[in-house]
């Protein structure tokens, strides 16, 4: 699967031999993409971050081969490329799973339950932070604040949002992923593999039909203020959507949460339905 073995962390021994090149057909294909990326920028070096995403889309991590590829195209030394590749946390330095499950454990999510979710998943999957399950399916890691605090606790899978999670919903989420069931995020498109996600990050739009519109517009928490401003009664946040809104159902602001509705619990806090949206969808 990969052109080079994973790097060891730090080696003080003999210098490594130069990385092998990509096979000719792979290289030709990647070069075509790379030239398109480079053409976007007034200065070719600006293409380095997208190019590193592109190499991840090929191998699932940034290999020495990938870095040498970037260096060659941009006229940089491999040291210059390595310095950049090791600075950013989204570049994997060794192969990982098809699905990267990131649990936010920055303060707010951690307090709201992210720590409990992360502990549960570590135990359930039998892996630690940054480790991959034996079947190569899932890499688990804790992540920093992902700008979704009003949906806390948040889990990201391949950088799609799974909002308002609980330990139970997160467990079902990873079980569904490992069992090959279709898993849809709360906000975002149906999951594709880590490699395919990396290609979007390299700047190639997601061409899958329905990917852009998947899960509809703003999430429920994003609409709380708007609904109040429109004169709707203050209520608890509606439970997170259990999938995409039905396509034929109009969603002009006033359809939910009239003052006649009984207060609704969030799914994350509903004892009868402890699973969050992800697990429900996956069934």
């Amino acid at each position: 699967m990969t052109a080079t073995p994973p790097n060891s962390e730090v080696s003080l021994g003999m210098p490594q031999l130069p990385a092998p090149d990509y096979p000719a057909d792979v290289r030709a294909r990647l070069e075509t993409d790379a030239k398109e990326i480079i053409a976007r920028y007034p200065d070719s070096r600006s293409a380095l971050l997208p190019l590193l995403h592109l190499t991840q889309s090929e191998e699932g991590f940034v290999s020495r081969t990938g870095m040498a590829f970037c260096a060659g195209l941009l006229g940089l030394t491999t040291a210059e490329v390595t310095a950049v590749a090791t600075f950013y946390s989204m570049y994997r330095r060794r192969p990982g799973g098809d699905y990267q499950v990131g649990v936010c454990t920055n303060t707010l999510c951690a307090v709201m339950g992210g720590d409990a979710i992360f502990d549960t998943l570590k135990e359930h999957l039998g892996v630690g932070n940054g480790e991959t399950t034996e079947d190569g399916g899932i890499t688990l890691e804790h992540i920093e604040c992902n700008a979704a605090c009003d949906f806390a606790p948040v889990v990201m899978v391949n950088w799609e949002f799974f909002d308002n999670q609980t330990p139970q919903s997160a467990k079902r989420l990873v079980d569904d992923l490992r069992d090959g069931r279709t898993v849809e995020p709360t906000r975002g498109a149906p999951l594709c593999t880590y490699k395919k996600t990396a290609r979007i990050l390299a700047g190639f739009p997601d061409e899958r039909p329905g990917a852009v519109e998947a899960t509809g517009g703003a999430g429920p928490a994003s609409l709380v203020g708007l609904r109040l401003a429109k004169g709707e009664a203050p209520q608890r946040v509606v439970r997170p959507r259990d999938g995409a809104y039905p396509r034929d159902e109009p969603r002009p602001g006033a359809e939910h949460l009239s003052s006649h509705d009984a207060p609704q619990q969030t799914s994350a806090s509903d004892p009868d339905h402890p699973a969050g949206p992800a697990a429900e969808e996956g069934e």
Binding site: H53, L74, M90, E144, D150, A152, D206, A221, L226
Partner: protein
């Protein structure tokens, strides 16, 4: 929490009066992210008005409106534009900072997910003003759903003639590139962002020269936050007087407040600047039932924390500043009495230590040692002298690094020691944390076992 009538006017407590959805006004409409929906809601009307003005007049107009940067520092947007030297023969660049990563901050990501065209329109207006033909949107990489919608919005804008050559017949040519970052909080700092966009490690630059003189590729560059740029079209379309009718003289206009944590209704609340947390909580159901507010941040983890006594602080640049903090990103993270402040600060400090780029010694080393001390205190292995040492180290970091990350790391230390020193001491004398983290979770009070219900 206790909610009481405040010194509001007779009709001042209703959400309809207190909130002012502008950017979020049609987020509940079907396919709100599309060009068609945006155009149905006055989309690209502001651009038409802007293109009818001379660029310098446009800059003056935005300056007169008083729009201030929504990314944290509050620098006047129009003034940033004015600093771009004209007739210098160099390319000019607009770089939109969409690297939203400050802990607690969650406004630009939902804005771009639901209404990306407000940003695109703002970009065209800004580029016309500063005479730029190339803009970049630097989006943090970890938000692929937003990246998808930005790709699509840019595609739609090109197809409709809002981007590309001779935009709306004005002679303006403009290209926009959506650039995904790769995971580094520091790239939200504008000069680190520029280094990152140039394909380097994201490390802040020494200023001067400022980006307005030597920014991207050493050319004059404006770096603006997403919300700042997205606010521009409505100012043009509805007028600066409309904009100034909201907020205060020095902090005019509307903005997105992001309520999160132990509140009944976390979410986005768009309101005139100067609303208070008490007003926001009063209208939205308050702190979660049966609990009291303990501490909160006005604008992300880098802004000194507040307590219950600050509920009536007007949330504008001056009001929050006068109360000893910063408006920052208006990320109102609320924590109730179940939350251990030492745990919260430890976690934030771990974040700063992880995200310190390593360039400046006080920040790189200081955040490392803060984490060691805090972990010890949290685990009940700390000494009383460690508490003073925290303060000393924070003092060594604060103001002694290139960028504000160091200052941000010091903020939670200083402010938590100011308000909750006793709780730190309790961890030392009691050899551990007196609070149960299980009680803080979102599901704590819905536990199926009734005996542990609050």
């Amino acid at each position: 929490m206790t909610t009481m009538a405040t010194q509001l006017g007779e009709n001042g407590t209703s959400p309809e009066k207190l909130l002012a959805p502008v950017l979020s006004a049609f987020w509940d409409q079907p396919e709100s992210w599309t060009l068609a929906t945006y155009e149905r809601h006055d989309g690209y009307q502001g651009l038409r008005k802007a293109l009818a003005m001379a660029p310098d007049d446009l800059i003056a107009y935005v300056k007169d409106a008083g729009l201030r940067g929504r990314g944290g520092a509050g620098f006047p947007t129009g003034m940033k534009w004015q600093f771009i030297p004209q007739g210098d023969g160099k390319p000019h660049y607009l770089v939109v900072n969409a690297d939203e990563s400050e802990p607690g901050t969650c406004k630009d990501i939902p804005l771009l997910f639901a209404n990306p065209h407000a940003l695109i329109e703002g970009i065209v207006i800004a580029c016309y003003a500063i005479r730029s033909q190339q803009a970049f949107i630097y989006l943090r990489g970890e938000v692929v759903p937003v990246l998808r919608r930005l790709h699509e919005a840019v595609r739609e804008a090109y197809a409709a003639g809002y981007l590309g050559t001779n935009i709306l017949g004005s002679g303006l040519d403009l290209d926009v590139v959506v650039h995904a970052g790769a995971g580094a909080y520091i790239c939200g700092e504008e000069t680190a962002l520029l280094d990152s966009l140039e394909g380097r490690r994201g490390q802040p630059r020494l200023r001067p020269p400022f980006p307005a003189v030597a920014g991207l590729y050493a050319c004059p560059t404006v770096v603006n936050n997403v919300e700042s740029i997205a606010s521009v079209p409505s100012i043009l379309n509805r007028g600066k007087d409309w904009f100034k009718s909201m907020g205060s003289e020095k902090s005019p206009g509307f903005t997105l407040y992001s309520l999160s944590g132990h509140v009944t209704s976390p979410g986005q609340y768009e309101a005139p600047l100067g609303i208070t947390l008490r007003q926001l909580l009063d209208m939205s159901g308050g702190i979660r039932a049966g609990h009291r507010l303990k501490f909160w941040t006005p604008g992300g983890s880098s802004t000194p924390m507040f307590t219950e006594e600050h509920l009536d602080v007007p949330l504008d640049y001056e009001g929050v500043g006068a109360a000893g903090s910063m408006l920052g990103t208006k990320a109102l993270q609320c924590f109730d009495e179940t939350t251990c402040v030492v745990r919260a600060v430890t976690r934030w400090t771990e974040f700063y230590a992880h995200e310190s780029c390593g360039k400046c010694t006080p920040c790189r080393e200081g955040t490392y040692w803060l984490v060691q001390l805090l972990r010890d205190i949290e685990a009940g292995k700390g000494r009383m002298s460690d508490i003073d040492k925290l303060n000393d180290i924070a003092d060594t970091i604060n103001g002694k690094s290139f960028c504000a990350l160091g200052d941000g790391a010091a903020s939670p230390i200083f402010s938590s020691l100011k308000h909750f020193r006793a709780e730190y001491e309790e961890h030392v004398t009691g050899k551990g944390c007196p609070l149960d983290p299980a009680k803080s979770t979102a599901w704590a009070d819905q536990n199926p076992h009734p005996e542990v219900n609050a």
